[in-house]
Amino acid sequence: MADPTSVGGSDLPSFEGWTCPLPLRDSPTIVMGHGGGGALSSELVEHVFLPSFRDEALARLGDSAVLDLAGLGGDRLAFTTDSFVVRPLFFPGGSIGELAVNGTVNDLAMSGARPLFLSTAFILEEGTDVTVVGAVAERVGAAAERAGVRVVTGDTKVVESGHGDGIYVNTAGIGLVPDGVDVRPDRAAPGDVVIVSGEIGVHGIAIMSVREGLEFGTALESDCQPLNGLVDAILGVTRDVHVLRDPTRGGVAASLNEIARAARVGIELDERALPIPDVVANACAFLGLDPLQVANEGKLLAFVPPAHAEAVLAAMRAHPAGLGASVIGRCVADHPGLVAATTGFGASRVVDLPLGEQLPRIC
């Protein structure tokens, strides 16, 4: 089997910026004992995770974090979890660490919630370099700080060599939904304006460009970023936002199809209005992929009643995470459950849910 420490790829970013505050004593790589609950586990927590996450509730190392919600704004909890198995671990513009934080933060934000607390669970493969674990933990900590959330509890397990892919990360998150906010897929209604917060397909193509066997030269970096600030800006305009969705796996096509089905509405896109960067369009053209089906990690789709669309669009464009926001389509009463697009030539086509993994075609 491949050397598990090589999962980050040969061009693993330099870890010069990260130094183990108290070098772990005998073991430069993860051993089974790091998950055993004994002294090695404690060392890993104290010397890798606590300094990275820097949170007082976490530092108390209780069996669970006890959190005070009074005065945080909102009576409804939003609660979500997600697991991250990305390969390679480090990619242009991000790593599994940023993904694990932003993925969960964004899931909370898409319910209109203000993300507050995260848990992280690391499943480490025996033999993984501790410096790699440390670098990922550091990225988790930095991403949490950027998103304004606290990592308040965590867990570590170790699996035998060959039973993992270096590092898997799970995060769960809790947020509070402000009063008057009711954002969910089945609220999409005919007439709603569909806005995307920026260029699509960037994350998926950036990852694909460094995947083993498919490396192609591109300066593209993942768009991985937290979207809770952008959602705040949107809800600052109006609380009457019907749907928010971050089009991650399956891309814009999957998200729109899910919304169309959940709300029993039709969605009509204008292909000419889709913000697809040239480099994404070109990569998709030679790989035989549809940019609408390529993953994003820092973009959102907003379904907004027409009366508020202009103001929401302006607020999005005024936020750093929404500079490239644009209107891409509309909700209609026709063809409920289906997403249609007007092609560049004025003809129409169905935009379907991708079936599974995207498969580069033969020729």
């Binding site: 369009a281 030539f345 003809a347 020729c363």
Partner: protein, 373 residues
Amino acid sequence: MKYLDEFQDPALARRLLDDIHATVTRPWAMMEVCGGQTHSIIRHGLDQLLPDGIELIHGPGCPVCVTPLEVIDKALEIAARPEVIFCSFGDMLRVPGSDGDLFRVKSAGGDVRVVYSPLDALTLARDNPDREVVFFGIGFETTAPPNAMTVHQARKLGIDNFSLLVSHVRVPPAIEAIMTAPVCRVQAFLAAGHVCTVMGTGEYPPLAERFGVPIVVTGFEPLDILEGIRRAVHQLEEGRHEVENAYPRAVAADGNPVAIRMLEDVFEVVDRSWRGIGMIPQSGWRLSERYREYDAEERFRVADIRTQESSVCRSGEVLQGLIKPHECAAFGTQCTPRNPLGATMVSSEGACAAYFLYRRLQPPPAREASTVG
């Protein structure tokens, strides 16, 4: 990107369409040979913009679709062996054999890998000397040269644990088979541009002459396709039947002589079965005598596997242009991309998949039964 946006320009498309509309005086049926062209036509909705009388018949040029069930079954058998690393392009993994697909073999523990070039498979063979690495070599004249070169390289580098499961096919014999079928509605061909990039255009004048059909070598972008249609329409209206090259930026009359020499060295022409169509004489390649030791069928003794195709699936008629995908009773019901009965529903180049993906909104009315030619 140079040569991408320019060939999707709506204003230029309008001019080509205006010319086509102004030229057509009666109905014509023409076949785009290649699945890549079919995909582009349906994806951009080009057929919705043509005059009513111009019918595009979707041809058999999808490499995934025409690979016989029997070859898929051989692939499944080989891929399931513990000593084998089975390498394939991605879209072959979902093609159903008699009993599951390569994804299923993979989930049952088979070492099935998606590669992006046959040379990647050769590298795997070099790096895993204790394993047998097999590459699934399918497709037309377009994919055959790199596969030929890989076998050539394997010999040169002395990598013996590499072999090729070959199911290569050739376009000109398929055109002949379509034109000599008992029912043939095709009055002109848009030949597959990239096939001609390799082979040149020399194989086509005898076909145009013998069957009295215009053959226009056509590219894949929307403007390429409209230009191909435009030239075919002009020929039909003027009663000409010539070979024209509407894709000169990628096709030279002589093709790619180096690739052709490589093909002639590594492969030899044989009769091949096409999925849903049957045996077409001289329509494919297998490894030549000199390279036979790299033939996976012989190495793994699967040459005797024989398989019957589904009786419900009408992909053969779709591939011959006799019916449109939605005219098959199983289309969209028993047969979907999730549960494909035939390969035309699997590949993004397959006509059935293209109709399913892009055309459920307003299914075109069923064509009236008629035959021409």
